[in-house]
């Protein structure tokens, strides 16, 4: 029976080629536009570390000015000071924790034919690597001892390893960065994060760094400040060390807290730390410390661009128009078939039969529209890539989930659109149609 309906559907679609093409195109356009924007939003809001995103917490301390909040209405700054970063790292209260900073420096490869180049640097503690599941190709991260002894050890990215050492296992070799000789202790595998959740203060979709080294080296080697530096009062005194001791925020901190109890305990620790600091004359604002897990932090930092969301809502409305269009056209089409339906009813087809028959026809149109829409979504994503340039590379791929959802969306919406016209068609009284014949 299904095959028969399918044949009838194709016949009917072929009978009004223009009307059918119009319906398929309308559905395709609606699906294409929606899938393009949904994909961008879906990838922007993707959980970059799903299995432990609820155990990783971003630390915020309100060390800001007594006269105004860092951000309205009463938000603490999105980074912390050097003083607080180093103090908090003295007490290893959490299961794992790392303060971080971004920086940059010149790498001087050994060969004469290779030019020195500027590399991005992430300063972190040893826990950084296990906390964020950093993938290693060779070697490993450094240990806590290297942190405290401020050893010149470095973990380098795969690209840096290829560039400086021509690939291969370079663990134990020496790499010259910011004028110092570092021992390579680990080489990372490809590490693409979208968003790069561990530091989104300068944009969520930057690449992971080229070189990683112990945090305290910032002080010893006087490394430059990467990212944003915000101060509510000027440093007291001249020079690099005075700047480090100032109230300027340029550092991030994460803690891994597996249970709610751990989280509560860590929060208590933060609060009591701030109270101690208040006694020393710092932290003039009321107690306002925050712990946000990965997805909460992405939300606070508004990782999903407003434009992407606006476009998604507009494209849903676009899909709505396309579906209304389809409903109208189907209505027209099925009403035009009134006499045929009347005839089929008269010779014995039940209402259910007719209902199924027309639903099959609608579904065919829907699937055709969905497939075409998928093609359009692909084009749409290519278009977005051209318009926005390289930094959206990781945000414009269609995966299997998206392909299946596109087809399902097309099928479901077209069947919904076909519901009313089909119902109307089946309620045609056979006698009235046969009379006029």
């Amino acid at each position: 029976m299904f095959a028969y309906y399918l044949r009838l559907a194709f016949k009917s679609i072929k009978r009004n080629p223009i009307l059918s093409a119009l319906m398929i195109t309308a559905i395709a356009l609606g699906i294409g536009a929606s899938m393009t924007t949904i994909t961008v939003n879906y990838l922007m809001s993707a959980n970059p570390i799903p299995h432990k995103s609820e155990q990783l917490f971003y630390v915020q301390l309100d060390s800001w000015s007594p006269h105004e909040p860092a951000n309205e209405p009463n938000e603490p700054p999105d980074q912390i000071t050097w003083t607080d970063a180093t103090n908090l790292m003295q007490n290893k209260t959490a299961f794992r924790q790392t303060a971080m900073a971004s920086s940059g420096g010149v790498v001087e490869p050994e060969g004469q034919d290779q030019k020195p180049f500027m590399a991005s640097i992430r300063l972190a503690f040893s826990d950084f690597f296990p906390m964020f599941d950093v993938p290693f190709l060779y070697g490993s991260g450094w240990n806590a001892e290297s942190d405290d002894k401020r050893e010149l050890v470095a973990v380098i990215s795969k690209a840096t390893n290829d560039k400086v050492f021509g690939g291969g296992n370079s663990v134990g070799k020496t790499i010259r960065v910011v004028g110092e000789n570092f021992r390579v202790i680990g080489v990372l595998d490809e590490w693409v994060l979208a968003p790069r959740f561990y530091d989104v203060t300068t944009g969520a979709f930057n690449e992971t760094e080229e070189i990683f080294m112990p945090f305290y080296l910032k002080q010893d080697l006087e490394l430059t400040n990467g990212g944003n530096t915000n101060c509510w009062k000027s440093p007291e005194g001249e020079g690099f060390q005075a700047f480090l001791q100032s109230e300027c925020v340029n550092y991030q901190m994460w803690a891994e807290l597996p249970t709610d109890a751990d989280k509560a305990e860590f929060m208590d620790f933060l609060n009591s730390y701030v109270m101690e600091q208040k006694a020393l004359g710092r932290f003039p604002r009321e107690l306002n410390n925050r712990l946000s897990d990965v997805m909460e932090w992405m939300e606070i930092e508004e990782v999903v661009a407003d434009d992407a969301q606006i476009m998604m809502w507009l494209s849903f409305m676009f899909l709505l128009v396309c579906l209304l269009n389809t409903i109208g056209l189907l209505l027209a089409k099925f009403t035009g078939k009134a006499s045929e339906i009347g005839l089929r009813r008269a010779v014995g087809a039940s209402r259910t039969d007719l209902f199924i028959q027309h639903l099959v026809e609608t579904a065919c149109i829907g699937i055709a529209g969905g497939l075409l829409g998928l093609g359009l979504a692909f084009l749409g994503l290519e278009g977005i890539k051209t318009l926005y340039g390289e930094f959206v590379q990781n945000l414009v791929g269609l995966d299997v989930t998206m392909v299946i959802s596109a087809l399902l969306l097309a099928l479901v919406s077209s069947i919904l659109a076909g519901m009313y016209p089909t119902w109307r068609a089946c309620n045609i009284a056979p006698a009235s149609q046969l009379k006029s014949q």
Partner: protein
């Protein structure tokens, strides 16, 4: 108006007999109008943003960063030699060392106030560190006071917390700092940077934008007489008209070979920087325009489809009317009027939805509120789209011969 001549009554009654089709078209028109009007509004707003002038000679300028890494790297002598060499290169109009680039998205900001002390009212402003060639290199106009002299210029060491004694500010900042006075008032006054360090306003310039194109106080900018002694320093170079692309590789090559203890990186034209900063706005404009056009076509085709269908269904009645003496124009008028009635319901509903969506966008994404005249303009456009779309089918209906009345369909 004689309504019987226009047949509004019969059209309306006929519509009521087939409500669903009409309602579908009306909703389609309403939603289309909502999207189109809000899109046009967003497009115009973004276009307005992109039109703003940064105040500098964008077309002929470029910049680059030099990063020293050698242990014997001397920022002061390198900068002095580099600037000398760059300024003497044929094709170069002028060059300076600068700490940040307008429209680039990264730079320094400081707070300024008219009285010393913490917690007082202040204005944020972007800081550009330049020398006495700055105004000429950036191509900004001094509208009051004086330019820096070579003796004003000092060298800034890394981590230094203090500021020079003089400053040049923009007209916009002057007006914000002294809201009750005219813009010349600031000249010669002392203003305070980061709460309590005094600086004397030596000059006022017409306009130069801060680096952050999304910032609300985009023209709050100060120029200070300093050159930096950092490891990484930036040069801003203004070429003679038409020479920029030719001298860029030349300058890069010259700097790279003159001192092996540093690298030259991030060389980019100001035009490209601007394009990057506004790229998402440009993309939004293109995407929304495309969506708008396609959507209008879809809605138009939907109207054509439904109208054709309703013409086909009523062939016999149309033939009868023609046989009874209705002119062709009467038939055309019938369908046009029918569409006009449906569209009217659509655009009235659309006006409500348009404002509703705008209110949502204002609340959720802090977009500005829609100007009122966008709504009637949108209504007019959608009315027109409906009338154009229905004209073809109506014309076809008018061509149905009166003899149709005698045939069975």
């Amino acid at each position: 108006m004689n309504s019987s001549k226009w047949e509004i009554g019969p059209i309306f009654r006929a519509l009521m007999r087939n409500k669903v089709g009409a309602v579908l078209i009306a909703i389609q028109i309403a939603v289309t109008m909502t999207i189109v009007v809000n899109s046009i509004f967003i497009i115009l707003e973004r276009a307005e943003l992109m039109k703003r002038d940064s105040g500098i000679d964008e077309a002929n300028s470029f910049y680059l960063t030099t990063t020293g890494f050698a242990t014997d790297f001397n920022a002061q002598s390198t900068t002095t030699e580099d600037l000398e060499a760059i300024r003497n290169t044929p094709g170069v109009l002028d060059a300076i060392q600068i700490n940040a680039i307008p429209t680039s998205g990264s730079g320094w900001s400081m707070s300024f106030q008219t009285e010393a002390g913490e917690g007082l009212e202040d204005e944020g402003a972007a800081v550009y560190m330049i020398d006495e060639n700055g105004l000429n290199t950036l191509d900004i106009e001094l509208i009051a006071g004086e330019n820096f002299t070579p003796s004003d210029i000092r060298w800034r060491a890394p981590g230094s917390p203090d500021w020079p004694e003089t400053v040049i500010i923009t007209k916009a900042l002057s007006e914000s700092l002294f809201p009750d006075e005219n813009w010349q008032f600031a000249l010669g006054k002392t203003i305070f940077i980061s709460s309590n360090q005094p600086m004397i306003v030596k000059g006022i310039v017409d306009k130069i934008q801060a680096p952050w194109v999304g910032w609300s106080d985009l023209e709050h900018t100060v120029l200070v007489p300093e050159k930096t002694l950092f490891n990484s320093n930036r040069y801003f170079i203004r070429a003679e008209p038409g020479q920029r692309d030719a001298i860029m590789p030349e300058i890069e090559e010259m700097l790279a070979s003159s001192n092996k203890g540093r690298i030259i990186r991030g060389m980019r034209t100001v035009e490209e920087t601007r394009e990057r900063s506004y790229r998402s706005d440009a993309a939004m404009i293109k995407i929304l325009s495309t969506v708008m056009v396609i959507l209008t076509i879809v809605t138009g085709l939907g109207i054509v489809g439904l109208a054709s269908f309703s013409v086909n269904r009523r062939k016999k009645q149309i033939g009868t009317r023609r046989a009874l003496g209705a002119s062709q124009s009467a038939i055309v008028r019938y369908f046009m009027l029918e569409n006009f009635l449906i569209s009217t319901v659509g655009v009235v509903l659309g006006a409500g939805l348009t404002i509703g969506l705008n209110v949502l966008l204002v609340n959720m994404f802090s977009l500005p509120a829609l100007d009122w005249y966008f709504v009637p303009a949108g209504m007019l456009v959608l009315w027109l789209v409906g009338q154009i779309a229905v004209f073809g089918p109506a014309k076809k209906a008018a061509n149905i011969p009166p003899a149709m009345a005698t045939r069975t369909v």
